[in-house]
C-alpha cells in the first residue's frame, strides 16, 4: 500500500515550520556560542555524551523525514512514481553538490607536481571522511537512503531502520568506530553515519503518518498526543538503557596510569568477557547505570571511549535512538502549541521556512562576527556578539522572506 495517497494535504504545517525554526535557532546558538568560555557546557557539542547542542542535528533529520514523507507522497500521487523518484534523486544530488561547495576543503596540494603524485583517494579521502560529511551531506545521503521505503507502510520503514542500525553496529565493530575517532576525525558519524541518522528521520516519517490528517478526512480534530509522548519516552528510555554498557568501560583505578595514553577502548563495540566479568564483581546497580543524558560522564582516563556512549561524532546507536525520541517529544510540544492552540512565533517561522538559506548564511555571518568577540570575552561581551550574530542572520533571512524567496530542496 502506498501511503502517499493518504497525504494529499497541501497546507503548510505550522508546527513543522515552527519546530524547524526552533531547530535552526538552536543551531545558530550552539554553533556560534559553543566555542566561548562563557558558554554553558550543555550548549557545547561533545563526543562522549548527549548535550543540548547534540539534540539539534537529530531534530533536523526528524524534520527532514517528516517533510520527505509528506512531499514525496504528494509527488508520487501527482507525478507518478518514476518521475517523483527521478525528481527527488536529482534534488538530493543537488544538495550533495551544495555540500561540496559549502564545506570548504584546504588545498590538497601546494604545487602541481605534488598534485600529480597523488592518487584519487589521496585527494578525496580526507574530505570524504571529514569535511564534506557534515549536516547537509548527511541530510542528502540519509534522504537518499530512505527513498526506497519512505512511501512504504510503517512496518517496512521500521524494519529498514532496525536493519540500518544493526548494520551500523556491525560496521562499527568491524572498523567504523575506531576509524571515525582516528585523525582526521569524522564529523557527525562520517560517511556511514546515514545508517543511524535514518533513525530520527524514520521516526519523523512515523510522526507525519500520525499527525498529518488526509484532506479528505472528515475528522479535523487534533490527535491525542498521549501515545506519541509515550512512544517518545520509550525511545529515549531505550536509548538510555542501551547506553548503560558504557559502564563496562570504566577503568579501574589501578589501570588508569597504564592506559593513560589510550582514549578508545580496544573492544569498543563488543566488550570482552574479561571486561564483563570484572564488572560483575562490582555489581551494584549504580555501577551499571550510565549518567543520564545531558550529564557529562568521566573523562577518558576514567572511562575509555566506546560505542555505547551517546556520541554525535561516531553517530552511535544509543545517541540517535535517544535523540530520535527527544525530537519526537519536542515536536509534540510544538504540535500542541502551534496546531492545537494556534500560537506561532514569527521569529521561528522566518528561520523555519528558509532553513537551508539560514544554514548557509549562519556560517558566513559567524565567520565575520566572531573575530571581534574573542573566545575568552567576559559573558556580557560574548552575549553581545551572539546578539549581533543573531540580528544580522535574521535580517538577511527576513529580507528573503519579505521577497518571497524560499530555497527548498
Amino acid at each position: 500500500m502506498s501511503l502517499g495517497s493518504q497525504r494529499p494535504t497541501t497546507e503548510r504545517l505550522a508546527s513543522l515550520d515552527q519546530f524547524r525554526g526552533y531547530t535552526v535557532v538552536g543551531m545558530l546558538l550552539v554553533n556560534y556560542f559553543g566555542g566561548y568560555a562563557a558558554c554553558a557546557q550543555v550548549l557545547k557539542h561533545s563526543h562522549d555524551y548527549c548535550s543540548y547542542a547534540d539534540t539539534i542535528m537529530p531534530q533536523f533529520l526528524f524534520a527532514v523525514g517528516f517533510a520527505l514523507r509528506l512531499t514525496f507522497g504528494r509527488r508520487m500521487q501527482t507525478l507518478g512514481s518514476s518521475v517523483a523518484y527521478a525528481r527527488m534523486i536529482r534534488r538530493l544530488l543537488g544538495l550533495v553538490l551544495v555540500s561540496l561547495v559549502v564545506y570548504t576543503v584546504a588545498p590538497r596540494a601546494g604545487t602541481w607536481e605534488q598534485l600529480k603524485e597523488m592518487n584519487v583517494w589521496q585527494i578525496i579521502g580526507e574530505p570524504l571522511k571529514r569535511q564534506w560529511f557534515q549536516t547537509l551531506m548527511h541530510i542528502a545521503v540519509t534522504s537518499l537512503w530512505l527513498l526506497p521505503v519512505v512511501h512504504r507502510p510503517a512496518r517496512i520503514r521500521v524494519a529498514w531502520m532496525v536493519g540500518s542500525a544493526a548494520t551500523h553496529v556491525f560496521l562499527s565493530y568491524w572498523f567504523n568506530f575506531a576509524w571515525t575517532n582516528t585523525p582526521p576525525n569524522a564529523i557527525d558519524g562520517g560517511p556511514f553515519g546515514f545508517l543511524t541518522w535514518c533513525i530520527p528521520a524514520i521516526v519523523g516519517t512515523l510522526a507525519c503518518d500520525y499527525f498529518v490528517q488526509p484532506s479528505d478526512s472528515r475528522e479535523n480534530q487534533p490527535r491525542s498526543v498521549v501515545p506519541v509522548v509515550l512512544a517518545a519516552m520509550g525511545l529515549m528510555l531505550l536509548g538510555y538503557v542501551m547506553s548503560c554498557p558504557t559502564r563496562l568501560y570504566d577503568v579501574p583505578e589501578s589501570q588508569r596510569e597504564t592506559l593513560l595514553k589510550f582514549k578508545l577502548a580496544d573492544d569498543p563495540v563488543w566488550p570482552t568477557p574479561e571486561r564483563i566479568h570484572a564488572k560483575r564483581a562490582d555489581a551494584s546497580l549504580t555501577a551499571l547505570l550510565a549518567e543520564p543524558p545531558f550529564v557529562k560522564p568521566p573523562n577518558e582516563t576514567e572511562r575509555k571511549w566506546n560505542y555505547w556512549m551517546m556520541s554525535q561524532r561516531a553517530g552511535t546507536l544509543t545517541y540517535l535512538t535517544f535523540t530520535a525520541g527527544f525530537s519526537l517529544l519536542v515536536f509534540v510540544l510544538f504540535y500542541i502549541v502551534c496546531d492545537v492552540y494556534k500560537l506561532r512565533l514569527p521569529f521561528f517561522r522566518t528561520f523555519g521556512t528558509n532553513a537551508l538559506v539560514a544554514y548557509v548564511l549562519h556560517s558566513m555571518v559567524s565567520s565575520a562576527v566572531q573575530p571581534f568577540f574573542p573566545k575568552d570575552s567576559p559573558a556580557w561581551f560574548a552575549y553581545m556578539g551572539l546578539g549581533i550574530f543573531f540580528l544580522i542572520t535574521w535580517l538577511f533571512v527576513k529580507q528573503l522572506e519579505k521577497q518571497g524567496a524560499f530555497l527548498r530542496v
Partner: protein, 417 residues
C-alpha cells in the same frame, strides 16, 4: 528636471534585454578572471596589474556601469508611478535600505579583515586601528563599493544628464586633487599627512580604498547617463551615441594616461628620478622638451608598460588600485561602447544568450555562489597548474556555478537587495 524628462514611455518596461545580457556578460567574465588571475599560466591581461588597463580591469567598471543604468531605470519607474517628490522620497528610502544591506552583506561575506585573539587584545588603540583599517581598506569590496556609490550619487539622481556629466568631470578633478594631497600615498600605504588623522598608516588599500568611492561613483553616473541615452534615442541612434560617447571617453582616458611618459627615467639624474618618485601627480614638465612627439604616447591599453626601472609609478597610469582618473575615463568609455554593442545585438537584433540571461538576472546570487564554487575548485588547482588543468577546472567551476544559478532561475528565485 521635469517628470516628463525622466519618465519616458519605456521606463515601465519589464526588463531591458541588453542590460541583462551586458550584466550577465560582466558576471561571466568576472568568473573567468577571478579564477585564472591566480594561476601562473594566466596572461597579464587576465590579471589586475595596477600599472595599465587589462581585460580583467574592464570587468568591475562594466558591472558598476550596469548598476548605474539600473539605478536610473528604477528611479524612472518610480517617477512614472507618481510625482517627482514622491519618487525621490521612495528612492531615498529604498536606496538607503538596499545600500546598507549591500554593505552589510559585503562585510559579512568578505569578513572585516581583522581579528582579536583574546580579550586582552581589545585595547582602545587596537580597536581604533581595526576601525581605521576597516574604513580605509578592508571594507571596500565590490558590493560595499556599489552600495556606498548608490548613496553618494543619490542627490544627483533627479538632475539632468548634462549636470551629471559635469559632476563626473568635477569628481575627477576632486579625486586628482585628493590624490595629489594625500590619497595616492594613502592607498599605497606610504607616509602621508592623512594618516595622522585617519589612522591605518602603512595599510595598503585596493579598488581605491575609501576615497575610491569618488572614482567609482563617476562610473556609476556614466551608467545613469547611458540609461538616459537609450531612452531618449530610438534604436540605432542610441547605439551610435553610446559608442561615440564611449569612444570619446576612452580617448580622454588614454590622453590623460600619456602623462605617464613624463615619468620615464631614461637619461635622468638620480635627483630627478627621486623628485619624480615623490611627485606622482605633477610630473616634471621640463622633460617634455627635447622629446619627439611620438615619444609622448603611452602604451596602448591592454599593453603592459615598461618596468619600474624604466618608469616611475605615477597617478597617470590606468591603475585600478588607486582608481586613477585615466582609469575611470577609459574604463567608463570602454564599458559604454561595449554596452552600445549589446544594445545593437540584443535590443535591435534580438540576440539573447541563455547563460548571460541567467547570470544577468540574478547577478548578486551568481556573484556569491561563484566565490564559494571557485574556493572549492581551488582546493585541487595549485597556482602552478598546467594550462590544460586550469582550463578544465575553469570549465568545471563555471558549469557548477551555472548549474546553481540556473536552478534558482528555474524556480524564479532572484536575490535582490
Amino acid at each position: 528636471m521635469s517628470k516628463s524628462e525622466i519618465a519616458t514611455p519605456l521606463a515601465s518596461a519589464a526588463r531591458i534585454t541588453s542590460l541583462d545580457q551586458f550584466r550577465g556578460y560582466s558576471v561571466a567574465a568576472m568568473f573567468v578572471v577571478n579564477f585564472v588571475q591566480h594561476m601562473d599560466v594566466a596572461h597579464q591581461t587576465l590579471r589586475h596589474n595596477n600599472t595599465h588597463f587589462s581585460y580583467a580591469d574592464s570587468i568591475m567598471p562594466s558591472f558598476i556601469l550596469a548598476c548605474g543604468f539600473a539605478y536610473r531605470m528604477a528611479f524612472a519607474k518610480l517617477v512614472a508611478k507618481g510625482n517627482l517628490e514622491f519618487a525621490l522620497a521612495q528612492l531615498r528610502r529604498r536606496i538607503l535600505v538596499r545600500s546598507f544591506g549591500l554593505i552589510l552583506l559585503s562585510a559579512m561575506f568578505f569578513s572585516l579583515g581583522g581579528k582579536f585573539f583574546s580579550w586582552s587584545d581589545m585595547s582602545a588603540s587596537n580597536v581604533a586601528k581595526f576601525a581605521a583599517e576597516l574604513l580605509k581598506a578592508n571594507l571596500w569590496e565590490v558590493l560595499a563599493i556599489i552600495g556606498t556609490c548608490q548613496i553618494f550619487i543619490l542627490p544627483l539622481m533627479a538632475t539632468t544628464s548634462k549636470f551629471r556629466l559635469a559632476a563626473v568631470v568635477l569628481l575627477s578633478v576632486l579625486h586628482t586633487l585628493l590624490s595629489w594631497s594625500f590619497n595616492y600615498d594613502f592607498v599605497y600605504g606610504r607616509p602621508n599627512w592623512m594618516d595622522a588623522y585617519f589612522g591605518g598608516a602603512g595599510k595598503r588599500a585596493w579598488d581605491g580604498g575609501c576615497f575610491g568611492i569618488i572614482a567609482w561613483s563617476q562610473i556609476m553616473l556614466v551608467g545613469t547617463i547611458a540609461y538616459d541615452i537609450t531612452q531618449r534615442s530610438p534604436g540605432g541612434k542610441s547605439v551610435r551615441r553610446l559608442i561615440v560617447l564611449g569612444t570619446l571617453m576612452m580617448i580622454m582616458g588614454y590622453s590623460m594616461s600619456c602623462l605617464t611618459r613624463l615619468y620615464d627615467v631614461r637619461g635622468l639624474s638620480d635627483d630627478q628620478v627621486q623628485s619624480l618618485t615623490q611627485s606622482p601627480i605633477f610630473p616634471n614638465f621640463a622633460t617634455f622638451s627635447n622629446r619627439p612627439w611620438y615619444n609622448l604616447f603611452a602604451e596602448a591599453p591592454f599593453v603592459a608598460p615598461p618596468s619600474t626601472k624604466e618608469r616611475v609609478v605615477n597617478y597617470w597610469q590606468m591603475d585600478k588600485r588607486v582608481v586613477t582618473v585615466s582609469f575611470v575615463f577609459f574604463s567608463s568609455g570602454f564599458a559604454l561602447a561595449l554596452y552600445g554593442l549589446f544594445v545593437l545585438a540584443c535590443d535591435i537584433h534580438n540576440w539573447n544568450i541563455g547563460v548571460f540571461r541567467t547570470f544577468g538576472q540574478n547577478a548578486l546570487a551568481a556573484y556569491i555562489i561563484h566565490h564559494l564554487v571557485t574556493r572549492t575548485w581551488f582546493s585541487i588547482v595549485p597556482h602552478d597548474s598546467s594550462l590544460g588543468w586550469v582550463l578544465i577546472s575553469l570549465l568545471g567551476s563555471f558549469c557548477t556555478t551555472y548549474l546553481f544559478v540556473r536552478y534558482l532561475e528555474i524556480r524564479s528565485l532572484y536575490l535582490r537587495l
